[in-house]
């Protein structure tokens, strides 16, 4: 009862704090997309039987994290090099 009340309050708050409504797909487009995804699922389902998808997704996540870290480092260093006080060349 207590948790349920808190969860209800959370739902009401988020409804109040986020007063936006982005456009949705038209139903015909959504139906087509769902049908298309079913074909994708069928094809990828075959691959997933022989390829460890969760493991590959984990590796992909690590690679993405490393690349984002490198890009962030380069951007920060580029900004710091513009400030003569730091003397970074």
């Amino acid at each position: 009862m207590i948790i349920e009340a808190l969860m209800s309050i959370m739902f009401t708050l988020q409804d109040f704090l986020v007063p936006i409504a982005l456009p949705q797909f038209p139903s015909s487009v959504l139906t087509t997309l769902q049908l298309g995804m079913e074909y994708v699922e069928a094809g990828a389902g075959i691959v997933a039987n022989y390829v460890p998808l969760p493991y590959l997704l984990t590796l992909f996540g690590i690679i993405a994290t490393v690349e984002v870290a490198i890009a962030t480092y380069n951007i920060v260093m580029w900004v710091l090099k513009k400030i003569p006080t730091f003397g970074i060349s």
């Binding site: 948790i3 389902g45 039987n49 022989y50 460890p52 590796l59």
Partner: protein
């Protein structure tokens, strides 16, 4: 007795028709709101056996009548004694559908009737295969080892132009949540109104919470009475009598604690029906708030979930393929399941996954090493 709630979603708007009570009906007027995608969930809050019926969607000048029924049978003897707990296990599911075509000139004599056996039934989807204009009857049942309460299915019917009404009927012996997604496809034709009706035929083989509680308390009382009666049995030794007294005395707080625990859990652990509704409300809110962004995200997540499930079960779902034919006839290949890995050869899948995983690990490490070397070269 309140059986559940029903809500309809039309694009970004939610057209609620409120609570539907037992043996009642509700109408929703869809005229003037254009083509709609209508979906909804009907659920119950009590353990009751009943039949549900969803009936009649009318669109334009045409009616297409579809009698669609499914039946759950289950053993509920292991269900816990919690109010609202719904951990049912269905041991069988039967699906049987009937299409009845009625001409649009007012003559109620059916053009043809046919029963459709849902050849590929699964959680979340149900396809039917039929050819138009012929009488065809196929019946059968599909058995599942287990089905959870959240079992639901959708159909993708292809309305024909020479039929003018549709009736969607659902029969179940369980308080099972279900979707009326078939109406989504049908009502896109241009619905005028929709009647939702739930009727109940209660049976007495499943008791409600209070009935169960009373039964439990009566059984407990009988145990205590039996225990004290046993104390008068002179055949028992003094040690057996003392043991009996201890058992009886220790059972009292244990039993009382179990009932107190139920109440305490109710304070902190959300009810399953509430959680289900809360999650559904959040999903609906995200859809209305983030629109196409969330819909795309949901599509991808659902696809990944299905792909992962097919990797676990080694079964993929071949999707529905519809070929439009002349004279308003469609030929539909129903979706069906294909077992990718034969029984007894699951080790092949594991071996392939292991080899691919090892190769990918080496490639990953090598890629990281080369990236590290590149960065070191740049910083020199």
């Amino acid at each position: 007795m309140l059986l559940g709630c029903f809500s309809l979603t039309a694009n970004a708007e939610t057209i609620g028709i409120g609570e539907i009570r037992l043996n009642s009906e509700a109408w929703i007027d869809l005229r003037g709101v254009g083509k709609q995608t209508v979906s909804g969930t009907c659920y119950t809050g009590e353990t009751k056996n009943f039949n549900k019926e969803l009936d009649v969607s009318r669109f334009g000048e045409r009616f297409l009548t579809v009698h669609w029924s499914y039946t759950f049978s289950y053993n509920d003897t292991s269900a816990p004694l919690f109010l609202g707990a719904k951990t049912y296990t269905f041991n069988a599911l039967g699906l049987h559908g009937t299409w009845v075509a009625i001409p649009s000139d007012g003559d109620e004599t059916p053009l043809y009737e046919r029963s459709v056996y849902f050849s590929s039934v699964e959680l979340g989807r149900c396809f039917m295969t039929f050819t138009d204009g012929t009488t065809e009857t196929i019946t059968g049942h599909i058995n599942y080892d287990t089905l959870t309460k959240t079992a639901s299915f959708r159909a993708y019917p292809t309305p024909s132009k020479n039929v003018r009404s549709i009736t969607f009927e659902v029969y179940t012996k369980n308080p099972v949540g279900f979707e009326i997604a078939p109406l989504a496809s049908i009502l896109e034709v241009g619905a005028e109104n929709l009647r939702v009706e739930i009727t109940s035929e209660e049976t007495d083989d499943t008791d409600g919470f209070l009935d169960r509680l009373i039964t439990k308390l009566q059984a407990f009382r009988q145990n205590v009475v039996d225990s004290f009666n046993a104390l008068n049995n002179n055949d028992l030794s003094i040690f057996e009598k003392v043991s009996l007294i201890f058992d009886t005395l220790t059972n009292i707080p244990r039993t009382m604690w179990s009932y107190f625990k139920i109440g305490l859990q109710g304070l902190f652990i959300p009810d399953e029906a509430f959680m289900q509704e809360w999650v559904e409300n959040n999903r609906q809110w995200c859809t209305e708030t983030f629109g196409a962004l969330f819909q795309s995200f949901e599509l991808i997540v659902n696809a990944y979930r299905d792909i992962d499930a097919s990797a676990e079960t080694h079964v993929i779902d071949m999707p529905l393929v519809t070929i439009p034919l002349p004279d308003n006839k469609d030929f539909t290949f129903g979706g069906y399941e294909v077992k990718i890995v034969p029984d007894g050869f699951e080790f092949l899948s594991v071996m392939c996954k292991s080899v691919v995983g090892i190769v990918c690990s080496f490639a990953f490490i090598n890629g990281l090493r080369r990236r590290y070397d590149d960065i070191m070269e740049e910083t020199k």
